[in-house]
Each structure stands twice: as C-alpha cells, then as structure tokens.
C-alpha cells in the first residue's frame, strides 16, 4: 500500500540567535486508514512537525527534506493559487474555543466549509450538515447554537465535524484532548477511534499522553529533542519498549497499584531542548548510559522483526519468553 503521507528526512529550525533544530531528520509514513501517534514531552517538536504538514510554519524557518502527500511533493508555505499540503490535510487544535468564531452559529461555520470544499448542490447542504453532526454525536439543534453555549467536549466535536466536512485525506489532531477533563477526554478519544475505523480516516494524533495514543493509534512514534527515538506498532511499544526513554515514559504513567506505592518511578531531570549535543540527546537522563553514548549519535535501527525501530546503542533487552 502506498503511504498517503510520507515525510522524508525532515529537519526544521527556527530563526534566531541560538538557532537550533526543532525537528531533526524525521522519516515517517502514514498509510491510508492508519492512525499514527506522535508522543513526546512538551517542547520536543511534535507541533512543529504538524505545522510543517499544514504549511503553517512561521516565516523564516530553515527546513530541509520533503513532505509527500498523495504522491505529490508539497510546499512548506501556503501561497495563494498554489497547491499546498493544506489541500489534503485537516487539523484540529488543543483549545477548541480559540478555533471557533464566537459570533457565528456553529451550523453556519460548518456549512461554509461544506460549501467551499464539497461539490454538493446547495439544496443538499442541510442534509450533509445533519449527517456530520450525527457522525460526531451532536444533537441536531446544536447547529443553531453559538460556541460559548457548548461545553469543551462539544466544541471539540464541532471541530471534528468541520474537519470531516473538509473531506481531507488526512486529519491531524494536535493534543485534541489536553484541554478536556477525564470523562470527556475518553469520549473524544473513542469518537476519534470510531471515526477512524468507520470512515477509514488517516489520522496523525499528537499527544504527550501515551494512554490517549494507545486508545486510538496502530502505529506509535516517540519523539525526544526533535528526533524519533522509537517507532513501532502500538502493541510492541507498550509490551516491549526497547528505547530507555520509551520505557521511562511508560513507567511514569500513573497507575493504580495493588498496594499504595512508596515512590513513583520516573525519569530523572528534565529534557534540555536548548543545547545541541554531539551524542545521544537522552544520554544525560538515561539509566542505561554508556561512555560512548555521549560521543556518538545512535541511528534509528530496525530490529530483526523489522517493524520496531529504535535509536539506541544499549537498548533494553527483549523480554525472555517463558516456557
């Protein structure tokens, strides 16, 4: 199957005195109908990658590599009249309230997208609106309401409806549940999963929350300091993380234990995104560090099974199979 989105050797750095790369040598494929999760701590470059896909990078960024969407190489910047990545992608953001126009009813806002991007007759638009609202689980009368009359979860559903109205080949969701509370978060994630399966939607889900990613995605990439450190099917990441950073992230997710723990397991220190290291960026926090880790950069290798890639000289051993 040909990938719908293919990112090749992408590096992006922001302008400024201490110019440093936000995204470094990223390679990634998204297949049609696949949900890919991008995980990392704040500041690791997740959002920069999403903005690059959308052609929304701030001006003056230095970028290398290429992005190919549906077999077409896309421009990093949107120019009037030029085809760009934005023709193929829809995006929803962290805070739904800031994405919606407060003085226009949400029905009208969705209608405008339908009019602009679908080839429906004018008479068919109300039906399409009703269909979209139903798809995202909103009652019909919501079309008449204004954004402030909806809860955060409902607003996020409206944005999802708008993204679906776009009929884009890929949906990018950048921290779509971070601003929501626990119960609503579950609902939105379930909805994303359901839409992705039913509508055969290709999805790039960006989050710092590994458990959110686990719920929705088939493929997971873990990003540290702008580099992908581990990339594998969801199941493998959760059952046998090879990179110490992936394992550390997993261990730090709060879990209910049979007995109250005395201390939570966690990674020491904090990610230092400001300085450029010659060796592995994670070396200073790594429990499996060796002397050579700080001198040389580990490449993103494939394991024998070929579907779990990790960038580490001293990976965690595979769990031994008990007989």
């Amino acid at each position: 199957m040909n990938p719908i989105v293919s990112i090749r050797n992408l590096s992006i750095s922001y302008p400024g005195a201490g110019a440093r790369s936000a995204v470094k040598h990223i390679n990634m494929d998204i297949l049609p109908g696949q949900a890919v999760g991008l995980v990392g701590e704040s500041g690791c470059g997740k959002t920069t990658l999403a903005l690059a896909l959308m052609g929304m990078l701030p001006p003056g960024c230095d970028h290398r590599g290429e992005i190919i969407i549906s077999g077409q190489k896309v421009d990093f910047y949107q120019r009037p009249g030029q085809p760009s990545a934005r023709d193929h992608c829809a995006m929803i953001f962290q805070n739904p309230q800031t994405s919606l126009n407060p003085v226009i009813s949400i029905g009208t806002q969705i209608n405008r997208i339908i009019q602009r991007y679908s080839r429906l007759k004018k008479s068919a638009i109300p039906d399409r609106l009703a269909e979209l609202l139903m798809l995202v689980g909103l009652p019909d009368h919501c079309g008449k309401l204004y954004p402030h009359e909806l809860s955060g979860g409902m607003q996020q559903r409206v944005l999802l409806a708008m993204a679906l109205a776009r009929e884009a080949s890929i949906l990018i969701a950048d921290e779509p549940t971070t601003a929501l509370d626990a119960g609503t978060r579950l609902q939105i994630l379930n909805l994303l999963k359901q839409l992705q399966e039913k509508q055969n939607l290709s999805l790039l889900l960006i989050s710092h929350d590994l458990s959110a990613i686990a719920r929705v995605c088939q493929q997971v990439a873990i990003v540290y300091q702008g580099r992908i450190v581990e990339q594998a099917p969801q199941k493998l990441i959760y059952t046998q993380p090879r990179h110490p950073y992936s394992a550390g992230l997993l261990a730090a997710i709060p879990k209910i234990h049979p007995k109250r723990p005395r201390k939570l397991q966690t990674l020491l220190g904090e990610a230092n995104h400001a300085t450029e290291q010659s060796g592995c960026g994670f070396a200073s926090r790594c429990p499996r560090r060796e002397a050579y880790c700080e001198q040389q950069l580990p490449p993103l290798n494939a394991t024998l099974e070929k579907n779990q890639h990790f960038a580490c000289f001293n990976p965690r051993p595979l769990p031994t199979v008990r007989k």
Binding site: R215, P254, K255, E270
Partner: protein, 321 residues
C-alpha cells in the same frame, strides 16, 4: 460525623453553596451539605469529575468564596467568623497550589521575588533572613539557585510548578491545598512533582488537601480518600480500604474505568450528566447508578459509617438498614 475536637487539622461541617444561574433557571449545586475532616499532618485526596465541586470546596475552605451555610475550623480557628484583618493574618497558615503555574505566576516578576512576596506581605523575617529562606526553599523543592533571576516563561512546566510549591511553602503553612497540581504536566515530570510533594509533607508535616481527577495519582499521594459527585461526598475511607474495597457504585465505576486503562470504559460524563439540583429528595447519583433501586429516587441517603476500623463512610441507600 460531628467533629469532636476541632483544635487540630481541618474540620468542615454542613458546607452549602449554590451557584446562581442565569435565565431564571434553578441554581446549580456547588456543595451540598458536605462534612469533611482532615486529621493534622495527613493528606486528604479528593477525587471526582469536573463540575463535581472539588475546586469549590477548596475555595470555600480558604474562604475565597462566600458559602450559603456551614462552618469551617482550621487548626481550631473558626474561619467563617474571622474579621478581614484576622483572616489576612490567618492566610499565611493556609496556602494553595493551582493547576496551571504559568497562569498563577506574574509574567513580569522574577521568580525569586515571586517566592519572597508572601514573606514580605506577612512581614516575616528581615530582608537578610528572607534571602536565606529563599536559598532553603530552592533547595527544598529541587530548583537550581541559578534560576533565581529568571522569569516564569523561561522555565519549563515542571520548574514553574516547583516555584509555585516553594511560594506556597514560604510561610510554612500548616494547611496546603493542591488543586490538580500535576494535570498540566508530562508524565515523568508529574511523577517527579508527586514524589516531591510526598517527601515535603513527610519532612514538614503540613496537612494537605489534594484534588485530582486521576485515581492513580490519588492512590499514591493520599492517606484518606474522598469521592465527590455533584457537590456531595459519596464515599470516604482510608487509602487501602477505598482502593481494595470500594463500596459506593460510583466509586466502583470510577475504579473500573481507571483499571480498564487502555480499553474503553463506561464513565459517567459531565458532557451528558444532567445538571439538576439534587435537593429533590433522591440520591444524587440515582440517574447514572448501575445498582439503582426504586427507593433511590425517593429517598436521600446520608453519609454513614459502614466500618469503624479502618473507618469507612458511604452515602448509599444500599448500606442503610
């Protein structure tokens, strides 16, 4: 659950708060006849979905909102009856940590000044003593001294939250409220901050009310756990008792949802929950309860002991008679 001795710890009795609603609708319930005891030096973990009144309770305990009814004692001080001047003096003993440190810190104030501000306001110590105290506080919360002259936006989220903790602890409060202090942080940083808070409490011995929607966080940090729903406490027990033997149907469903982890789980959500006023003579959870009986919509349960040791309270008609 009448407070016997109110001279230590935190005691609240019959707290009531109705939020006025617009458009002639019935007022929404913030707190509904809520009783609470936090023994001195213990951590009380309050869990519940958003809108259940957790933050309302926090604000009420510090008298940051006006209650409709109820009495509060913190270390023997009846908070509701203090004059403004007495209240201001009392504030140094009760401090609050918020969810979003960047919103709580003044963007134009250096963090050393932010931490010292409460000491200056309460006129504690001389300037030299305060500087010394600042160094101690930095060490206490694990911040490097070299960050002292930075501004909030120059710090990471974890460092900002450490600043907030240092600021809250500057006056050596006897009562600390932490309102979702880790939910805005990445998982590794979240675990670091939780470890820090537990170490600090062991070292300094303050009483803490810790609010979270995350049961796993509550299990780690809390000695006593209270489960809140629509402004009422539905269950309250020691950490071990609550997690090993949840009695209220709502607690059961919360634990099931959290334990299911990666799988989808049914959870009563705020999105669809009817925001009714539960003053109608029924159990406030009767609409969503999986173990509901006919009587649940006709009678209001009371929070009562079902077990004396370890103490365990439940507010459910299944446990009455």
């Amino acid at each position: 659950m009448k407070p016997a001795d109110t001279s230590t710890g935190v005691h609240a009795n019959g707290l009531m708060k109705l939020w006025p609603a617009s458009n002639k609708q019935a007022p929404r319930v913030g707190l509904n006849n809520l009783d609470l005891i936090i023994p001195a030096g213990k951590t009380y973990g309050l869990v519940g979905e958003s809108g259940s009144g957790k933050s309302t309770l926090a604000l009420a305990l510090l008298r940051l909102i006006k209650l409709d009814a109820g009495e509060i004692w913190i270390n023997g001080q009846a908070i509701q009856t203090l004059s403004q001047a007495e209240l201001r003096a009392q504030r140094q003993h009760m401090q609050l940590i918020f969810q979003n440190p960047l919103a709580a810190l003044d963007p134009r104030q250096r963090i050393d000044n932010a931490i010292l501000e409460p000491l200056a306001l309460h006129k504690i110590g001389t300037a030299i003593q305060r500087r010394q105290q600042l160094r101690n506080l930095f060490e206490l919360v694990g911040l490097s001294q070299s960050l002292a002259s930075r501004y909030p936006h120059q710090l990471s989220g974890g460092q900002q939250q450490r600043v907030m903790i240092a600021r809250a602890l500057a006056c050596r409060p006897s009562f600390l409220i932490a309102d979702e202090p880790v939910s805005a942080l990445d998982a590794p940083i979240q675990a670091q901050i939780l470890n820090l808070l537990r170490e600090l409490q062991a070292e300094l011995g303050f009483t803490m009310l810790f609010i979270s929607h995350d049961l796993a966080v509550i299990q780690f940090i809390a000695d006593i756990v209270g489960v809140m729903y629509q402004g009422e406490l539905l269950e309250q027990a020691n950490n071990e008792a609550l997690f090993n033997n949840p009695c209220h149907p709502y607690t059961e469903s919360l634990l099931a949802a959290a334990g299911a982890g990666m799988q989808t789980a049914r959870l009563n959500s705020h999105d669809q929950a009817p925001r009714k006023t539960p003053l109608t003579g029924s159990c406030c959870y009767s609409a969503g309860c999986l173990r509901g009986m006919a009587v649940c919509s006709q009678q209001t349960p009371t929070l009562r002991y079902i077990n004396k040791s370890p103490p365990h309270w439940v507010k459910c008609l299944h446990y009455e008679n």
